[in-house]
């Protein structure tokens, strides 16, 4: 009994690291976009398109890292689309996000059809469990390099937002567009840039979905991770570093079902699969308030959290 609890915990640790990576990238991208005062709900579509692009490019060029880059660029394209459409007057960013989500998923499924069967070279994980004899721990500590890229990106983003002129401009645009205009900053220009970079992050997150072990592309690859990441940013109160912690928590929740399956508990598999959605909802209920807006929320966000 005790050993099976240990197996579940170790599997959850490994799962948390594995499942959290796409959450982390999407959340970092959305965090940057929202810091500038705009919401991009379309990152679910970006995530799926990124996964498809990464897989296709890796398949054709035999280089998974080129695939990661291509996924990021495809995310840039969708992000730039969202950013430029929302620059027009009277256009609602939340609604455009929903449209971009449907559009991105549609395009990914359209071009992804021929890639459902083949196998593409995937990103090799780094075996951090070499010191241990336990096969469970060894497999849990097979960590994908993108996980570390994500953590490094979180630190870089947190530093840049806090300490650079660029970060100050982004935060000003997000807190008060009028103040930014008075500074002579192009508000729409900054938001276009943050949405495009945010799209890049989400695209890279998608690359993880299709290129991490075992590496395959199919239409069920993402089911709402992109959208949950938006909720995660609220939970992380718009801090890139807290986004990493929140992503790990979500990853652990997502790993409950498969972990229990590894010791033969299959009862209620579908309920455990729904755990991340339920957790997201519970967290949103716990952290939102009808009376006042969330702490640290960028003042220009159109979407009341």
């Amino acid at each position: 009994m005790e050993s099976s609890i240990l197996i579940v915990l170790v599997a959850m640790l490994g799962g948390a690291i594995r499942v959290s990576t796409p959450f982390m990238f999407v959340a970092l991208g959305e965090c940057l976009t929202e810091k500038s005062g705009r919401v991009n709900l379309g990152l679910e579509g970006t995530l799926v398109l990124g996964a498809m692009t990464a897989f296709a490019i890796s398949y054709h060029t035999n280089s998974p890292w080129l695939g990661v880059l291509a996924a990021g660029l495809s995310g840039c394209v969708l992000g730039a689309m969202h950013g430029s459409i929302c620059s027009l007057p009277r256009v609602n960013d939340v609604a455009v996000g929903i449209a971009m989500m449907l559009f991105g998923v549609g395009v990914a499924f359209f071009f992804g059809k021929p890639y459902i069967q083949p196998v593409a070279p995937h990103l090799n994980s780094i075996p951090f469990g070499f010191w241990s004899d336990s096969p469970n721990l060894k497999s849990a500590l097979q960590i994908n390099p993108l996980f570390f890229v994500g953590i490094a990106a979180a630190f870089a983003l947190a530093w840049a937002l806090r300490n650079t002129r660029w970060g100050l401009v982004v935060r000003t645009v997000g807190d008060s567009a009028a103040a930014a205009r008075a500074m002579g900053v192009s508000v729409n220009g900054v938001r276009l840039m943050t949405t495009t970079i945010g799209g890049f992050f989400a695209g890279v997150g998608g690359a993880f979905l299709s290129l991490s072990y075992p590496g395959s592309w199919n239409q069920g690859l993402s089911s709402g991770q992109g959208l949950m990441a938006v909720a995660l940013v609220i939970f992380a109160r718009w801090s890139p570093l807290r986004c990493v912690g929140a992503a790990l928590l979500f990853g652990a929740a997502g790993a409950i079902g498969p972990s229990l399956q590894s010791i033969g508990v299959t009862q209620g598999y579908y309920f455990f699969n729904a755990a991340p959605y339920i957790l997201t909802l519970v967290i949103m209920i716990a952290t939102s308030s009808a009376k006042h807006s969330a702490a640290d929320m960028p003042g220009e966000l159109s979407m009341a959290k």
């Binding site: 256009v91 449907l102 559009f103 549609g106 359209f110 909720a231 009341a304």
Partner: protein
């Protein structure tokens, strides 16, 4: 914004302008017809360029959509059949839009409604005659859908939880609930192919409207549209809801029961999607399984936005998309295009349509004279 979370999120463009006065009304109304039509034309043009770029013929595509969706009695009836869930899930978006909420979880309410209806039928078959069984099934489906979407409205009002995100999360949860029961406790073990609930016998299925092969869901969908139009634009309830959607603070200051209005609107919206699920089960599938999540709830979002959240405009728009969806199979077979082609087209129309919001008020031809 602290005490007015709802007003903040209410997109101006979603709520149609208040009634215009005088004889020049048709001029400004024309704007709401011309611009969406232009947007559809522009997206078809973009889609044609896309097809040309991948070496397919746009002319063939259009003629196939016409043949598969509208040319001939069979395809037309198929189209009407498919537009029925689109009408109802579009109402799931349109009614909350009036009160300033963007709900995108119609898919979940449809799946849950259909599942609950099918599950309720299992013990009743053979015990209760068909008619009362069907009425009961429809009733619980509407309750289930209503509670599901009503929860989003309640959480929005009571806790400030963003309803767009919560409704989509609840969609995934709803589908998981159905999968759990369909693959577990309620699985029909005599059907090894696809996990489903026990099927309804033919005598318990809803028939088609006289002289057609279209089931009654289409009729009820249109009736619902008219009834909800009247509710939202001709009653005190609807007026109060629109005031709340237009200016949350003003509604509060007027002493309107804002919370109850929001929950009522979202429950009505969810009940529509639940009813769509009931008709999918009782008129088409005969059982609840994964085919219920066929994406009608998502296409319904687009239908509602294209109809500018006006219930009376929903049926024609839904028929148009029902035709495109119905022709999907034909397009797929004849042109060798993936089944996601329709999704790309829908996404494109949606993006272009929202972009066209920026055009309102830009053309002087639509301005009423003397103002």
């Amino acid at each position: 914004m602290s005490d007015a979370p709802l007003a903040q999120s209410a997109p101006r463009a979603v709520v149609p302008a208040a009634a215009q006065i005088g004889s020049s009304r048709w001029r400004s109304d024309a704007e709401y017809v011309v611009i969406p039509v232009l947007a559809i034309a522009a997206s078809f043009l973009l889609f044609a360029v896309f097809l040309l770029a991948i070496g397919k013929s746009p002319v063939e595509f259009v003629s196939l959509v016409w043949r598969g969706g509208f040319g001939g009695a069979f395809s037309l009836q198929n189209t009407l059949q498919r537009s029925s869930p689109l009408i109802m899930t579009a109402l799931t978006v349109a009614i909350p839009a009036r009160i300033g909420l963007i709900i995108i979880g119609g898919e979940g309410a449809l799946v849950l409604g259909g599942f609950v209806a099918a599950a309720l039928a299992v013990p009743l078959i053979g015990v209760v005659p068909p008619m009362p069984t069907l009425i009961l099934m429809a009733f619980v489906a509407m309750i289930a859908g209503g509670v599901w979407i009503g929860l989003c409205g309640f959480l929005r009002y009571a806790r400030g939880v963003n309803e767009t995100i919560s409704s989509l999360l609840l969609t995934y949860i709803g589908i998981a609930i159905m999968n759990f029961f369909v693959e577990g406790p309620l699985r029909d073990i005599s059907n090894p192919n696809k996990p489903s609930t026990k099927p309804l016998p033919d005598s318990y299925m809803i028939g088609s409207m006289p002289g057609t092969s279209v089931h009654w869901g289409f009729f009820f969908g249109v009736v619902l549209c008219v009834a909800l139009y009247l509710l939202m634009s001709r009653t005190t309830f609807g007026f109060a809801a629109r005031v709340t959607g237009g200016n949350f603070r003003a509604a509060l200051a007027q002493g309107l029961p804002v919370g109850r209005l929001i929950v009522a609107c979202t429950m009505i919206a969810g009940a529509c999607a639940g009813l769509a699920g009931f008709f999918e089960v009782a008129a088409i599938q005969g059982r609840a399984n994964a085919s219920l999540a066929a994406g009608y709830g998502f296409t319904g979002i687009l239908v509602a936005f294209l109809a500018r959240q006006n219930p009376l405009v929903i049926p024609p728009v839904a028929i148009m998309f029902g035709g495109i969806v119905a022709a999907g199979g034909l397009v797929q077979r004849r042109m060798g295009l993936p089944d996601a082609t329709v999704q790309v087209l829908e996404g494109l129309i949606f993006v272009v349509l929202l972009t066209s919001e920026t055009l309102y008020g830009r053309f002087s031809i639509f301005k009423p004279k003397g103002r």
